[in-house]
Amino acid sequence: MSSSSEILGMASRRGSIKRGLRDFVLFARRRPSVMFGLVIVGVTLFLALFGPAVAPFDPEHALPGAGLQPPSFQHWMGTDVSGMDIFSRTISAPRIDLVIALVSSLIAFAVGVALGVISGYFASNRGVARFISEGIMRCADILQAFPVFIFALALVGFRGPGTGNVIAALAFLNIPYFLRVTRGAVFQVREQPFIEAARCAGNSELRIAFVHVMPNSAGPALANISPGIGFAILLTSALSFVGAGVPKPTPEWGSMISIGAPNMITGQWWTALFPGIFLGLTVLGYALCGDGLRDYIDPMNRR
């Protein structure tokens, strides 16, 4: 009973999102690591919204002749080989990363949860239902068996680089995770009396699956979106690093690292270091925040 009631309890915590957020912040106060993660998330969100606007230089504008200048008062993080201000580019990068990460995560979430509900609710031992639910699971297994990066690369290689394709690749890859997590929750929820009650009320099985089961099983998947975002950012950077991701002039940490890496050998350490640090901190921050969110939700306010 304990974990199913946790899931249900979590589902029922119907306080407004604002209040939930505030409580989470209070929770984070007591956990320095979560607080750190929350700060990182906050900063990246801010930069995503306002980064390019507050940047001192145009992040995509090359200043000829100003290439490879070390950090100075004018260029806080120096310039890269094309003369673009690294600081401006670094703080403008979150926008594209977060857009890709959020959109792909949301798509993966929506599809993963829906498939998780179908494969979990209709999982049974015989008939068409078994075929469908098992089929979905085997597809998920296959997807998850691929090394993530290789698969992303292949997908993008197949369809060509570009933001849209990166989003598609990421979404596709993350579906199995949300699917499994939701399926687990569905197995518990579908045993609950209120599902039987829904049957007594004359609901069709499909209606029960989406009106009753899904809202109450989406919790665990929700709690796992945050680390997914961190991972998506990392993957976007990795793809961009090899040139298979975001197109060239767009500021993106991975591509910045890629451009700046050769320069590190010749002594211009600033070209790749700063974006690298930012990338590392960001992924860490999202992961910590995600951990904190998970602890916060399940079990509620555990000490």
């Binding site: 029922s12 609950q192 009396p193 209120f194 009650a197 007594c200 004359g202 809202p215 109450n216």
Partner: protein, 325 residues
């Protein structure tokens, strides 16, 4: 005698357990529930009462036998007839909170079964919901609230409101008060009793608590390991239980009064598992009345007195003894 609303005919339900074993939850059970009658089904774990309740609702398919409602076998109903059935037969579950969809507002929860009635306009549905809530003595403001905002007793009232919203003919109640604090039980029981008398539907009241059943039911059937061992009018079972199991059940009731003497009619040993049913009478290994024949033959329900049936070889003989409970 009016035709019975619900007829359970030779109902058997066996669950396969793998490795060649099977669990016989319900074993050739037959009884009726008349229109407007409140029938109690009493038993402990393994009695099969919960499975029986779910068969009656069509949530579980029987292995053999039939559930006949208004003359029709419910497992052979067409889609539209099934909808009609669902409208006429409703259920109240044991766990109040778990039986309500946690993310739905009360209004929507109570409204759900009303969607089976396609002849109602939304306005009429709204009126029905309001009436149902009033009848269970909940405030109209409850409509917009969520289940977790209510106490267990109130949640159960919501479940009851949902059950009566469609004006059913039969309500199956599965341990409706067992999960509630003692202080709330009698209120809910009175409410149930009251509703039944006013709205005149039938009850199948499933419980392990004989005294709860006494408050609500006209007739009682006692189940043990998938079989009915005794059935009679409520007062008759309390005054003079004829089956040793019923006696033991009754004597296990602890009245909150130190002056009442606790009868020592206690069964020895554990309840056998329904996977490994004993041969002969299922109770014989624990029964203080057991004689030789009990280990080899299984007694069937026989009429011992007027409207009083028991499945025990010695019931008739014991009737003549003084009722020394």
């Amino acid at each position: 005698m009016t035709e019975a609303l619900l007829q359970i005919v030779n109902l058997t339900k066996i669950f396969p357990m793998g490795h060649g074993k099977s669990l016989t939850a319900v074993n050739d059970v037959s009884f009726d529930v008349g229109r407007g009658e409140a029938v109690g089904l009493v038993g402990e774990s393994g009695s099969g009462k919960t499975t029986l309740g779910r068969c009656v609702l069509g949530l579980i398919e029987p292995s053999s036998g039939a559930i006949v409602f208004r003359g029709e076998n419910i497992n052979r109903l067409s889609r539209p007839h099934m909808r009609e059935f669902r409208r006429r037969v409703q259920m109240v579950f044991q766990e109040p909170y778990a039986s309500l969809s946690p993310r739905m507002r009360i209004g929507r929860i109570v409204e759900e079964p009303l969607r089976l009635r396609q002849d109602l306009t939304p306005a009429q549905r709204g009126k029905r919901i309001a009436e149902a809530l009033a009848m269970v003595r909940l405030e109209q403001s409850s409509i917009d609230k969520y289940p977790h905002q209510f106490s267990a007793g109130e949640q159960q009232r919501v479940a009851i409101a949902r059950a009566i919203a469609t004006e059913p003919e039969l309500v199956v109640l599965d341990e409706p008060t067992s999960a509630l604090d003692v202080s709330v039980r009698s209120e809910i029981l009175d409410l149930l009793s009251d509703l039944q008398r006013r709205l005149r539907f039938s009850y199948l009241f499933i419980s392990h608590d004989l005294t709860a059943v006494r408050r609500v039911c006209d007739r009682v059937a006692v189940m043990y390991l998938g079989r009915i061992v005794e059935t009679a009018r409520t007062e008759a079972i309390f005054d003079r239980p004829l089956h040793p199991y019923s006696r033991a059940l009754l004597s296990s009731v602890l009245y909150p009064d130190p002056k009442t003497v606790l009868p020592r009619f206690v069964l020895s040993g554990e309840i056998p598992s329904p996977i490994d049913l004993p041969v002969g009478c299922h109770l014989h290994q624990r029964c203080p009345w057991a004689i030789e024949g009990c280990a080899t033959r299984s007694p069937s329900l026989e009429q011992i007195q007027e409207e009083h049936w028991a499945a025990c070889f010695r019931a008739r003989e014991k009737v003549l003894e003084p009722a020394s409970l």
